[in-house]
Amino acid sequence: MQLELRGITKRFPGVIANDNVNLTLKTGEVLCLIGENGAGKSTLMNVLYGMYKAEEGQILLDGSPVVFTSPADAIAAGIGMVHQHFMLVPVFTVAENVVLGVEPTGRFGSLDIDKAREMVREVSDRYNLNLDPDAIIEELPVGVQQRVEIVKVLLRDAKVVVFDEPTAVLTPKEIIEFFEIVKTLIAAGRGVVFITHKLKEALNVADRIAVLRRGQVVGEVDPKSATESQIAEMMVGRPVQLIVDKKPHAPGEVVLEVKDLSIVDADGRTMVDHVSFTVRAGEVVGIAGVQGNGQTELVDALTGLRHSTRGRVELDGQDITSASPRERHSKGIAHVPEDRQRQGLVGGLSVAENLVLTRYHDEEFSNGIVMDWPAAHRVAESLITEYDIRTPSADIEASTLSGGNQQKVIVARELSRPLRLSIAAQPTRGVDVGSIEYIHSRIIKERDTGTAVLIVSTELDEVMALSDRLLVMYRGKIVADLDPKATSAMDVGLYMAGSRPASAVNA
């Protein structure tokens, strides 16, 4: 089946998300759609999937135009989609999620769950996906959840499969497995559209690469001849520095010491399991790991948002295990949270109010009862200038800013004061390249002034580039303490997946 998008234009209030986009996909081909966050990749695919209606343009299947008014139409036409945020009901089983919408039924519309199990098992075996139909989604690792998504698509007999940022949540090993799955799909005569912002993967897997910038296709390149920096320049529109520029570090005294920390959650699951490590002044310690291996809980415990079940946390030799978030804050701990929408910002408050969100109670802004808003405004204005936050005014709601600028608000608020320890979780998730460069440089600058820095990121490239020391977390334990300069990404990936590289086993 040949798929063609012709002159697709999709507008949202104030922005043109897709501007006259033309693309074609042939059977047995992997087309890679690459572009920055916000370039319009996901919008384009949602148009293809019948979730958005484009203002202009046509979709053609084997040369004849089709109109999709809902995902149901797209599915019926043989288009399947694996979304970036998995479309899985967390409390359902694998089988329930897979058959949702195409349920096998018995008498009186009763659900034939045995049949559903069988269907899952059949597809899972055929493509070697190894799924348990009765497992509950929320208890599965992300990599497995993705395979459930793939089974969903295959069960509906999709001829074209769209993967939206599929590797963002996978370990390097899982990524390799994922590429194997893609190859089986191609071998089975299906077409694959692969959306990503990672250059290496695009070059690795694609037959053709289309580069999207600000809603427009700015060019197609051949992965056999193109280079990373060439594509990056097309994506961003200017030359980009792909490596983090930093001086060798000069570690000082121990600032953070974590001793034998364990965390059990409300349901009795052990999320952090006897973890011990230190972070010194003037060094960046990175924690790598696949999402859901206890990093979130560890950061929560270090910042006082969660009680640890046992163990000790010390800052400059002082016990802060049971200190409140505010006490930690006043002792010089900064926290850039992993989810800026959920934790880092209050979308309904103004940019200025968000810039003092963790400091409003300081003497500078409040006498304990009354706020000094003019003072807060002055500080906000200067931070907006210093950190280059693009906002029409300090008084508009923070939710109206772009992701990169929202993140800059948080970074500005957290780093603009004397610090001992800076903890940043996923500091550049969903942020444009310009902001990534800026945030990275800010973090390195903080290190160079003698602050201890702890970076938690699931982006292996990022955490390897920034860190002076690299820890790997797997199932709540720290399984490796590495020198990022002397370790390959592949080896780190093996630790992230719970195994050990051959070199380490021998040593």
């Binding site: 948002l305 978030p325 804050h329 934790q343 969100l357 409003y360 009862i369 009354v370 706020m371």
Partner: protein, 386 residues
Amino acid sequence: MKIVASLRKIAERIARTSSFRITLLAVLSAMVVGAFIIILSDIDKLQNGDIIGAIRTVGSAYWALVVGSFGSLRAISATINSATPLILCGLSVAVAFKAGLFNIGATGQMLAGGMAALWVGFAMDGPGYVQVPLAVLAGALGGAAYGAIPGILKARTGAHEVITTIMLNNMAGFMVLWLLKTNLYQRADRTDPISKLVTAPGHLPRLFGFLDNRPDLIAHAGFVVAILAVIVYWWFLNRSTTGFEFRAFGMNADAAQYAGMHTKRLTVMAMMFAGAFAGLAGSAEVLGTYGYASQNFAGNIGFDAIAIALLGRSSPVGTLFAALLFGALQAGGRQMQANTDVPIDLIVVLRALIVMFIAAPLLIKAIWRVKVAPSSTGQTFRGWGS
């Protein structure tokens, strides 16, 4: 001259804002639907084919509504009197909304506050400048204490305040009934549940007391308390440190916790503030309007307050005007019931319709074919989990 010019500017700005237009059109739409209800329920006239007569009833009913709420000093006084507890209870619901909590318990808190104020009201005998503030304060404290219960339960155990406040409302009703039969509260010569009378100096002074021979002007100083409460609420939200914490917590509880706010303490405080406002409403009713308490002195005010807070979007000025509108409907409704055969219950329908229309600007837009800015009332409900 300058004042006049600036006043005109303000008036123009209000007239131009779409929320004002929506409110106006919503009231109008509600009146139209109300008119249909009046006509269609006039079955005797309709059976006799007297459609003109049925329509005429609508005219006289709505005329009475206007006259009874704003047509005379007496009407304005009645409007003020009805609006007083509505403003205070509206603030009670509003302050909880601001902190992300849904206070259905204004009724119970009003009863608790009213009973506390009442005790000071009849146990003391002047001087008024001591007794009245003391009684009002007792009302606020009583309400705050009762409001603290769901707050503490939510903070400590996560019990949802929608459930706990409903339960506490029912319990407060029986508690009042019991208290009104004890020697402490029951009037000496009575066997039914009715309280002792507030002593003369303990009454909230009448607003129009300076006019001679007008005992019909029933508005009392509780209105002043309510206006002060609106000002305090405005100041608290916009100027105070805790008010900032309330707003941040209400919009994003996770971020508030991340920012080091004591969210459990905020939960308890928000419910205590809510209770205090409702308690003030209770004391205004007991010390100003009735001078004693009967079993059901809170009436439906606690529920009306939810509509008021929703209508006023929990803002200080919005809540004030919403309560005045509801108060005017209440006062006018009494006149309407007296002048025509249209029962006062119509105003409950009108209130419901106004809330519905205001909440759905898209519907207003569709009906009246006007341009309104897309505005949302926001989401008041944050899910059953906590």
